[in-house]
Symmetry: none
Subunit: 323 residues, 5 copies
């Protein structure tokens, strides 16, 4: 036999308490990726209050671009300031902060290396709102590297007549990102002329959108919380025949997680439109946890609350995931 | 402790009276940029009558391309001559002169280094005027460098069905420009089939357009002065709920400035169509100043006035900003 | 005035105890670098037992390539195994682990994101040992990115007739590394036909070599501990005339630190050949600390000791720096 | 917990009897490589009589280029025919066949997919034989792909004054090969003006050469069988002090294997010059096996024997490794 | 007649007092250059106390690299700090500051746009000092642009056996620099095995070296002050036959200026080794002025004096040139 000696596990210092077995397990799902990409996925899992748990609470602030500044920031005007969001993500202990080029450029140097960053490389605005939407590429893989980001973020709209163009744009960017050791986060939001309004959050459609993102090579997938509605007639048959449980939110989360490689991709859920009741969102987080979801990406519901409130609110959600 | 010695501030000669603390403060907002880009932003802020104030009056002459020569220059035929505009910008003490390739090429050698130049790298004409407009790229980052410019200028039309294509073109040019140490000035002019005519200058739309430009990575943003009109129904709710003051022009300027990273990006306002009354434009400048705007970009209202008049007029505006 | 609101400092969670004011101060010396490079320098300063102190203990293992495997690993055969060094660096709490391509590739996936890595992109062996040595480039900037490294490491031999070629090779690699957000660590080891054996560690020569590395754009500089010897006649005059104190090791460290931009570049010192007495190396560390040096890079003296001993030994050195 | 379900082991068809735990273990050492490279290493380990054992017997035929055709093929003129070697490798059940461009091109189409191929991408001839040799690059990574090869092969001569150039050429080719999913096989043959003739196979030199190849990123390393001689004075001290056993061939093989990442790289040994006695070579194979070596690469001793003899001879060696 | 209207000269504001007729005249010599390069030459002539005069006092600090840190900075230890030199150049009102990559990177962001910068893109050290010297390229045209420099600086050693290589390296860099609108400053220092020590500053050699730099396309040429010695026998004949006046320093300066395109290239003179007497250097400046030279580049004689002294000293030299 070859002279391969085992290296006994050494006692680790406190740093390594974040690099847990669960972190290693999740990283093992990405074994086709190079160590650079794995390192960046690991950075997301070893930062903040949820470090080491394999759970995520991410602060995304692309609403300014997506919905306009007043709709995004007037409720809590501190949010007009790009520094605010870095500090909020740091203060509350989020795993990462995600934003478009301008917001990242405005404060990345000051906080260099302080928190994992996700550069949202495509964006959409509602000044021209199409029935079949498509986002514009607004930054690049090289931007992500020069700004010290751990990942690119990209939105696809499955269901849009433009979906093919988005998938193809993602393909090029994801291949480049992976070659340079970055992770790829995909926002998969069903929209477009083929879907009813209810269909955008239908359980069959959300599960399908999550699966498409995973098949496109996403490491981390963000979807909306699904409703009990089933949009596609053909899908209805399958759900009925197999008696897939979808009546509770944990059921539906479980089904979405199963649909993304049987839980072998990180799937996180968006909080959606601002809700006034904190408890409603805590309930959602408990449901995500119960269904095996990996966490929440919470934009408007965090930065539109007053700062003190937002920090307490985010930390409470983290406590739910850490349980 | 490491042997780091502080360098005591030396007395500075008169040159440095332009490189003021306000200049330094504004530069500090661009800390992700390389020193080359910062130097070119500084050049804009240390030239002309407003040097050192952090305020801007810029002379743009792209109307010949945009509206045709007679509509642009017949009122003051000296303006057919490209030298005229360099001299006008110099004589009045503007921070910079901005124009398309031809106008810059025609006189840049003669005035090399005499005034900061902004190469307008895309342009649009009205011989074919579409409902959903898009400008053509008419020069390059390398053109800007070989012509001695400090920045590229680029127009986007948020609200156009072609907006995505413009954003993506800007992305490529801005990344290249920043790599080579140039600044990026974005003209953000809402237009297109999704907007009413009034919507193009609606306060919600202008603030949104300014925010989009900032998120796309613009260092300097040019928008039109906004009206009290609100175009988008969803935005109306936000303005009402937060009681955002928009009834006066200073209010609206303040809101636009806030919408561009809470005042951390340079936003300047265009004078719009030619107005016969100087005083009306002085009033606008006072409103811009009162609202925290960074200055004016004044094309037709300067070069369509007789030269003596134009110089007095521009200098009066600078005096207003310098107060 | 523009509507720039200050963001009040928020309470930080324990993570941020590593991102100290000293870390921020050191980062401020690299203000021409992009946020990516700053983030990677920050990662080096926020990992391990010395996190937040601005001090460094780095484990380098390129001796296998430089001197051959038996001379490097026979004293402690566990070191033949590439996993051993990752684990040793982790167990002892080093800021980083540095090695050539093969050693990094062999274990980077398993430890992805667990410890900052420095890819040593050039290497030299003694099977052909020239009077005027030059290392071979053995890996690339893209390798560093795909392997998840925070920096490239490069050796120059000032004093070699081949120095020009090394400087030029470094120039190309450093420019590329900085563009992609990596840090640049330079091993500056005077050698070559122009220098006596004593001259290789002469105080004038070591200070000069450190300065050259800084002028070549290194972020972090590694030199040998200098002796009291002065090699160059012209330099002798300067040392005498200015009465530069060089009689003690702290004096000499202080002079080397001063020679690298008056303490504005991170300079760390190598332990040199293996010493049997731990105390001798502790004394060196105390002298480095007293002279304002930033830390130690300790190869043979760590991995050639038995593991338990090595961990205690490295942690003792860290304690000295942390005092 | 996330909904990760275990996949029950399926019964495998006979093919999979080749994809053994030992194959998986060896592949685990290459975890930084992409699945393409791993797949090609796996192909080498799952073909031929030694499939599944983790042992190798490879047929290389670059002697025509290296020593001239008559010296190579006159003893068994069938060897002038490039088809002969493919057939010999297949008939005897070798893991792979390695040759320069011409020999591969001449028969690769006919045997496409029938046996793993290694394209020897650099070669040296003795019409000009230098004291400090360097091979010429004679084919490319693209050639290897278009010809259906699983790996590139590259020779380095540690100890040559040209070693730096070879290492750098290998660096470029290896990075490209790995990116395209190929494996990299390095022939590491110490030669050059710094070494005595005995030194070329000295145990310290061979172990060093194997380590260098591993550090350069080779997946598979080919060295000559080492003698008991020690070439370098500094190395002698280390061997004596650590009492490294080198008196028997198994001892020396074990030391070389240890020197290549403690047995975590595939190291195979060349038979060297033609020997008339089969038994001498069987003895070498037994020693390689006893020392934990991964196999043999046997050129002249196979293709210079008559075909029937050669097949029996090679199969006997495989039997030794399979024991 | 074509409708070419003259543009009457407008009254200029104080800014333009720097952009004098002399500045325009000097720029007219570079009419083959693009406006970008002209703009950067103009920036050098419109900054500092000599703005508008067409005269230059430049602060170069490459001595740390060229001679070592102690020989350079021990006399005035403030000079170890890269910020010091920016501030000294600013405080005294120099036209520009020139330094290698490291010194520029260390402080360019803080002083972005505050003073014209010349990036010294090649450098030489004396740890290996050859009879036929050649500098190493240590930075690039892209570095100059990203750092906001107006020019690259490059040293050639006419008379060195390596001169051809330096000329060719300069050719490539100068062509690239000019394409991107940068100016090219050439340090032309005769050295090498073909020249006697006296020959390095011989009038025939210095004039020749200046002419070579001009022929290589330099915009600005730096030479040492020439002595009355004539090095080349063939040249001696010409000087005698034409009775070229070279007996006084103004004579020799006049001859060097004449030799660089009859005064149509900017030629500045270096102060050489540190002199204790200020007056000796003032005398040299008066001689340079009297001979039609364009100014001085003063390194050691400025930064090795205490700061207050240095500022007074440099300003006195500027007064001499401004007379």
């Amino acid at each position: 036999m070859a002279a391969v000696t085992a290296v006994p596990e050494l006692e680790r210092k406190e740093d390594s308490s974040r690099y847990t077995d669960r972190v290693r397990e999740i990283l093992s799902w990405y074994e086709s990726d190079n160590p650079g990409t794995k390192a960046n996925i690991a950075r997301l899992m070893t930062h903040g209050r949820l470090a080491g748990t394999g759970k995520f609470v991410i602060l995304p602030v692309d609403q300014g671009f997506e919905h306009g500044p007043a709709r995004s920031f007037a409720a809590n005007p501190a949010g007009y300031n790009p520094n605010y969001h870095f500090e909020l993500a740091l203060a509350s202990g989020c795993n990462a902060y995600a934003a478009p080029l301008g917001f990242i450029e405005a404060a990345a140097a000051r906080h260099a290396g302080e928190i994992p960053l996700i550069l949202k490389v495509n964006n959409h605005d509602v000044l021209h709102d199409e029935k079949d939407p498509i986002s514009a590429q607004t930054s690049s893989v090289h931007d992500a590297l020069r700004l010290g980001c751990v990942a690119i973020g990209f939105t696809i709209y499955p269901g849009s007549a433009m979906a093919r163009e988005m998938y193809q744009q993602l393909r090029v960017l994801a291949e480049e990102a992976k070659s340079y050791g970055l992770a790829v986060v995909v926002w998969s939001y069903p929209r477009g002329s083929s879907l009813s309004k209810d269909g955008e959050t239908a359980i069959d459609v959300v599960a399908y959108a999550a699966h498409i993102a995973a098949e496109l090579g996403a490491h981390i997938i963000k979807v909306k919380l699904p409703s009990e509605h089933i949009e596609q007639a053909e899908a209805q048959k399958a759900y009925t025949k197999a008696a897939i449980p979808i009546s509770t939110l944990p059921d539906r989360v479980r089904h979405v997680v199963q649909s993304t490689f049987d839980g072998r991709r990180i799937v996180i859920f968006s909080g959606g439109a601002k809700k006034d009741e904190d408890e409603a969102i805590y309930e959602e987080a408990r449901a995500i946890r119960a269904g095996g979801g990996f966490g929440s990406i919470i934009g408007r519901n965090s930065f539109q609350r007053p700062r003190e409130h937002a920090v307490r609110f985010l930390q409470k959600i983290m406590e739910i995931y850490a349980e």
